[in-house]
């Protein structure tokens, strides 16, 4: 009784159709074909994204836009601090409330294995977004929607900086304990290594004062470092300001994961080299569309949906900026 529309019609090979259905707006379709009304569909997101993180608020905007367009109910849950054990409890709670679809990020496979598998066993379709692609196949989950692997994105960032002449770089990790962030730094180091460079990791928090003081201290002690990679705009923005105040911004090649208006402004101005975009708006938008279609018509994509990475350089920054202000990029 718990599994209303679950396993039976799994994976009808119609990913493109699923999309076009959604965009057409479900209302146009003849009513008798529907298994379930849009307003009865409820989808729950449980992610590890801290509420004040710019990145996750874009995911949330995408989710809300899709929910509004389709007329379905969505809920978004995340622990206030990075805490996978609390996340596990939230996933269990979501399972108990029997949604039509569950959307999760998986930053720690060990801690989240049991609750995610229990959700799946309860007949709830599970879409993984952002991190945790490796878990989709072995755990029998339904779909991954997200960017390229964290490591590969990091490698690319390293290569781009190396091409611009960076020998020694530093990677600022603000969410210590998140494996995906560790992978980004690892990739960055290996990307620089290809042309004989290397990088260190500076552990920081989301707190702007904390970040700027630690990085300032590190750079004073390591004058040979010329490349700075941050792992999110929340951290990059105060650092840019620090460099500008100190008048040292020209000395560094600065890149960041993820976008925000400040980042794009800095990229357009040339003070910042690039922003890596995983187009996370789609990570909020598509799962709602896919799961709604699954609940209503049992149609579902058959392979992972890749949303990134796209490197935003000086040429395209200005155009993307307005969208970023609107919380879409």
């Amino acid at each position: 009784m718990s599994a209303l529309f679950s396993m039976s019609g799994l994976r009808n090979a119609l990913s493109a159709a699923a999309l076009s259905l959604a965009f057409a707006g479900a209302g146009i379709l003849p009513a008798p074909a529907q298994v379930k009304k849009e307003s009865d569909v409820r989808i729950v997101f449980v992610t590890h994204g801290q509420a004040n993180d710019v990145y996750w608020s874009v995911v949330k905007n995408g989710m809300q836009a899709a929910a509004q367009q389709l007329g379905v109910k969505v809920e978004y849950q995340a622990p206030e601090t990075f805490d996978v054990v609390r996340m596990a409890r939230m996933i269990e709670a979501a399972t108990a409330s029997k949604p039509d679809g569950l959307v999760v990020s998986i930053p720690d496979m060990d801690a989240l294995k049991a609750p995610v598998e229990a959700a799946k066993a309860a007949g709830i379709p599970v879409v993984v977004i952002d991190s945790g692609e490796e878990a989709v196949e072995p755990w029998g989950l339904d779909l991954f929607v997200g960017g390229g692997s964290e490591y590969d994105n990091g490698v690319k960032a390293g290569e781009i900086m190396a091409k611009a002449g960076v020998k020694k770089g530093v990677c600022i990790n603000h969410e210590v304990g998140n494996v995906s962030l560790d992978k980004r730094c690892e990739g960055y180091n290996d990307g620089l290594k290809k042309s004989g460079g290397s990088s260190d990791v500076v552990a920081a928090t989301m707190d702007p004062t904390d970040v700027t003081r630690r990085v300032e201290g590190y750079l004073t002690a390591h004058p040979d470092v010329t490349g700075v990679l941050t792992l999110g705009p929340t951290v990059a923005a105060p650092l840019l300001k620090m460099f500008e105040d100190a008048g040292t911004i020209g000395n560094y090649k600065i890149g960041t994961f993820d976008l925000s208006p400040e980042i794009l402004y800095a990229v357009a101005k040339g003070t910042m080299m690039f922003g890596i975009d995983n187009q996370q708006y789609m990570m909020g938008y598509y799962p709602v569309v896919f799961l709604t279609n699954k609940a209503m018509y049992k149609t579902f994509p058959t392979s992972a949906v890749r949303t990134g990475p796209s490197f935003i350089m000086k040429e395209d920054a200005a155009a993307v900026r307005d969208l970023s202000k609107a919380g879409i990029r």
Binding site: M1, S2, A3, S6, M7, A51, K73, E75, Y76, Q77, A78, E80, T81, F82, D83, V84, V85, A88, R89, M90, E92, A93, A94, T95, A96, S97, K98, D108, M109, D110, A111, K113, A114, A118, A121, A122, G123, V176, G177, N178, V179, D182, A203
Partner: protein, 369 residues
């Protein structure tokens, strides 16, 4: 107020009403009232959402249980007139201790758990000795501990593994006795039977939605029972109340104040480690950030449970209900569908209301003397 409690106002109270008055004076009464209010509130706002399904109950009980293990020890310490702010960091420290012992040094899980408990005794004793020797407020001494332990956790883990998370701790040992004892589930056959007879929800394959309750719930009950026995039935319990009430007076009548306080600090460190062992063996991984903010949550649970911040008054059963309120509110908000952006506002308000109700009930009850 005597009239309100006993409208007939007979010249000689019957034994039943006298028992009622004595019950009203218990510190945990406010917390029990608060629990009832919280359950009623969620019954109205989230009645059909799954919060009170078996899976929902198992879910909030597990959250409450883990907090409750800490709250029992913290309640004892608070009755003894001290705080332990290093509690949350101790959880992280114990977690990575177990993680490193198993994955880096190749020790068995039971040995790693034993080492973690030994370290807890050392840390707790250090906290206690520092507090009684320096005569500084424990608030300050353990605040230093909060940073030192969290920093050590991060630094040691990074130095040894280069990362901040330690995965695969229970790999291949999921069936071990110690893993089951701390991180397992109990009551599986009962749930299977209930599901087979349609009493509780089942998965499509016929197995129950809830495969069993977390062992942490048994630990919660056991720790609370032990703390209550200690407080009410033993001489040590009397000493704790005396030390928290007025430690100079206690010293004058021959209570070994220092020893009592040191033992209480060891108790909170042990409870933090028990919490860490349960989380690590349940989740299979350790993380340098585990236990963040738990020190405050445990104090909140103890205060909701009727402990006074000034010491000398409180109960472990009250702390158990305090933890239950906290866990129920924390998970219950989820089922009401309130946006998480508002979560902390709601949590804070609910806690404030619980404490106010608790305070009001207790004042009325003690006035009725």
């Amino acid at each position: 107020m005597t009239e309100a409690l006993n409208p007939a106002h007979p010249p000689e109270p019957k034994p039943v009403s006298r028992r009622l008055v004595r019950l009203m004076r218990r510190p945990e009464l406010g917390a029990i009232t608060g629990t009832i209010i919280v359950f009623l509130a969620f019954g109205i706002t989230a009645g059909n959402s799954g919060l009170f399904s078996m899976a929902g109950i198992a879910n909030f009980l597990q959250v409450s249980a883990q907090l409750g293990i800490l709250a029992a020890a913290v309640a004892l310490l608070m009755i003894g007139g001290e705080f332990d702010l290093s509690l949350g960091s101790m959880i992280g420290f114990a977690s990575v201790t177990i993680g490193l012992c198993v994955t880096q040094f190749g020790l068995s899980i039971p040995a790693a758990v034993a080492i973690a408990f030994v370290i807890a005794i050392i840390v707790g004793a250090l906290n206690g000795i520092l507090v009684v020797r320096t005569r500084l407020p424990s608030f300050i001494v353990t605040l230093a501990g909060l940073f030192i332990l969290r920093g050590l956790t991060l630094a040691i883990t990074r130095t040894v593994t280069g990362r901040t998370q330690i995965p695969y701790i229970t790999d291949g040992q999921e069936g071990g006795f110690v893993v089951w004892l701390f991180g397992g589930k109990f009551g599986g056959p009962v749930f299977a039977w209930l599901a087979a007879h349609g009493v509780i929800a089942a998965r499509p394959d016929g197995s129950p939605m809830v495969q069993g309750l977390s062992m942490s719930i048994l630990w919660w009950v056991a720790v609370t029972a032990f703390a209550t026995w200690l407080l009410i039935k033993t001489r040590f319990g009397n000493w704790v109340f005396a030390v928290g009430g007025d430690d100079r007076a206690a010293r004058n009548v021959g209570v070994p104040v220092d020893r009592v306080k040191i033992l209480l600090f060891i108790g909170t460190a042990l409870s933090a480690t028990l919490f860490a062992v349960i989380q690590v063996l349940e989740a299979g991984s350790a993380d340098t950030l585990r236990g963040t903010q738990k020190e405050f949550q445990a104090i909140i649970a103890a205060v909701i449970g009727g402990c006074l911040l000034t010491g000398g008054y409180g109960s472990a059963i009250g702390a158990m209900f305090g933890a239950l309120i906290f866990g129920t509110v924390e998970m219950g908000i989820f089922y009401t569908g309130i946006d998480t952006d508002w979560f902390q506002v709601f949590l804070g308000s609910m806690l404030l209301i619980a404490v106010l109700v608790n305070n009001y009930v207790r004042r009325k009850a003690t006035e009725a003397r």
